[in-house]
């Protein structure tokens, strides 16, 4: 820390432009640790059992009991001031909140349930849980290792079958204890729905404060449930439209740090950032390719905006569109072969599709009104976008431009971003007159809509993939 401070004046002297473009940045936070999967207690080596779920009623009626995770020995841990027993309760609370908040299940958390003994994690006392009306039972344990790290085991039982459906374990650093809870949530969710996991992921967004005509906009990140919230920029300059790199090592976003709107590539480990392209022209709307090798950005030259791509390693940019209209944004298909983007070449904002090299451009949307901000689902089966017909609403369509379905009914809902499993869409909602902004999630039925709590107003969400 002292070394950093001592170095700062030197950097200012020898690298003024770099210092200038970093002046809105907070302290670097370093990268997170990997989560290691391990065998769990009671695992017979044949891998998890794959019984059939006995209950076939609608999932949102599925009762799940999630008592506190047990610990073999209540010892101190950096993850919780009250030791591993208290941490076991916290783990169960996080899992309960995850499963409840997404409207999928009816979980009961540890605060209204008895605490199972460590020995019963692998052999539940069925009579204790049978009277509580839950169809599913979650058990788990947390154990402090000699290296300070934690082993967390997670078990899902079918109450009717009195059988284990699935079990997994992970070793996490104390700072990453919530990731074990997200991994367990993902395990339960995936087993019960047949869908891919999504809880163990992060969201980058823009935190907003201040009056409507003088908003402070800061780049911020958080876990998928809003925890581990961190500001990355100080708010001195306006920051907009972030996107996580697929490996979570970098963020691209727009900053006015030098007075002009420009795209920067921010390195999370080092806390330094570089321009996406050395140009005096304004750049907007950065996007990663799914494999992380390419960055798309849009650049205005003489007032005309087109889409470019550049290797994530830097180098020469390649222009992909060349119409006199505004061509902007872009979202890759999961296989990286095609890009959906936005253009007003027809006279109004519409969604177009092209091959990844810019060839074969054609219009996709003919729904009436305007269609903007397309985002290809990680599953590839849907494209989410902002449909503007009077109000602004989140909608989805098939990749062939048919099958429009409107999912929200706000006054101004925009900028959809997909959960890693392509089943939930996050977006931001602006309130009429006040300009207050907030993050929302909606599932593909449009029926389960909920606000994601944030410390302050929030916009421009970008959901990253499952954490590596």
């Amino acid at each position: 820390m002292k070394f950093l401070i001592a170095l700062t004046p030197l950097i200012a002297l020898v690298a003024a432009p770099v210092a200038a473009q970093n002046q809105d940045l907070g302290e670097p936070m370093g990268e997170g640790q990997e989560v290691e999967a391990v065998a769990v207690e009671g695992d017979d080596g044949d891998g998890p059992l794959r019984g059939t779920v006995s209950d076939d009623s609608s999932l949102d009626d599925l009762g799940i009991a999630i008592p506190a995770f047990a610990t073999d020995r209540n010892v101190s841990t950096p993850a919780n001031a009250n030791g591993t027993a208290a941490l076991g309760e916290e783990l169960a609370r996080v899992i309960t909140a995850n499963l409840r908040n997404n409207g999928l299940f009816k979980p009961t958390g540890p605060d209204s349930l008895p605490k199972p003994e460590f020995a019963n994690i692998t052999s539940p006392v069925w009579s204790t849980w049978g009277v509580r009306g839950a169809e599913m039972l979650v058990h788990g344990y947390v154990r402090a290792r000699s290296d300070d790290r934690l082993t967390v085991g997670c078990y899902l039982y079918d109450m009717a079958l009195q059988q284990r459906l699935v079990a997994e374990g992970w070793v996490v650093s104390p700072a990453d204890w919530r990731r074990a809870a997200h991994k367990c949530s993902d395990l339960i969710y995936a087993r019960l729905t047949g869908e891919s996991p999504f809880f163990d992921s992060r969201i980058a967004y823009i935190a907003e404060t201040g009056p409507k005509d003088k908003r402070t906009k800061r780049l911020a990140i958080m876990d998928s449930d809003g925890a581990n919230h961190r500001f990355i920029t100080t708010g001195r300059s306006t920051a907009l439209t972030p996107r996580y790199s697929p490996d979570y090592k970098q963020l691209v976003y727009l900053s006015y740090v030098d007075g002009n709107p420009r795209i920067y590539v921010y390195d999370i480990g080092t806390g330094r950032q570089t321009l996406v392209t050395q140009s005096d022209n304004p750049t907007f709307a950065p996007r990663w390719s799914p494999d992380g090798r390419w960055i798309l950005y849009s650049m205005a030259v003489g007032g005309n905006t087109d889409i470019y791509r550049v290797s994530a390693q830097g180098g020469r940019s390649e222009r992909l569109t060349d119409t006199p209209g505004i061509d902007i944004g872009g979202s890759y298909s999961p296989d990286g072969s095609r890009i959906v983007f936005e253009s007003d070449r027809s006279g109004s904002q519409q969604i177009y599709i092209m091959d990844a090299d810019g060839s074969n451009q054609r219009r996709l949307t003919f729904f009436g009104g305007r269609s903007a901000t397309p985002e290809w689902s990680p599953r590839g089966d849907q494209i989410a976008f902002t449909h503007i017909a009077g109000d602004f609403n989140i909608a989805v369509m098939n990749p062939n431009g048919r099958g429009l379905r409107k999912l929200t009914n706000g006054w101004q809902d925009e900028a959809p971003t997909w959960a890693p499993n392509g089943r939930i869409i996050q977006f931001f909602r602006t309130a009429r007159n006040t300009g207050a902004t907030s993050l929302w999630q909606v599932d593909l039925t449009g029926e389960n809509e909920r606000r994601l709590p944030t410390p302050v107003d929030a916009s421009d969400p970008a959901w990253g993939p499952i954490l590596p």
Partner: protein, 170 residues
Amino acid sequence: MNTRIATAVMLTSALALAACQKKAPEELPPAPEATAAPAPTPTPTGPAVGSMEHFIEAVGRANTVVYFDTDRYNIDAEDSAKLQTQAQYFSQYSNVTFTIEGHTDERGTREYNLALGERRANAAKNYLVSLGIPASRIRTVSYGKERPVALGSNEAAWAQNRRAATVTIN
């Protein structure tokens, strides 16, 4: 201070002498001698040439901003009259550099609005260049929907926010 006073002297007749290239005097006239009565009127100290105050005083505040229709960026007759007034000022004060800020109303998606604001700023810039103002003196910046001047969510507020504002660089 000397140049500031000279500026002020010049400013009093700035518009009337629009075509006049009279140089500021090398030396100021001697200060008026202290007399008992009447009290000396203070030397008028107007805003410095190139300051935003000076620009507004010369062209009128209303002429510093042009407005656009929804999703449009064309320069209409009213805009062109305003930009001609601006061009006269920038021809007269040929050392003044300035920024044209492009803005949109809130009823658009964020990234498209950034591009639209850029387009509006450039439309105004190109018009001034066509009137003989060197492009090298004009910077453009788009704020999209980030900096509204009217805060309501209604057509009257949106009309005020769809604008290209000329701001001098001091």
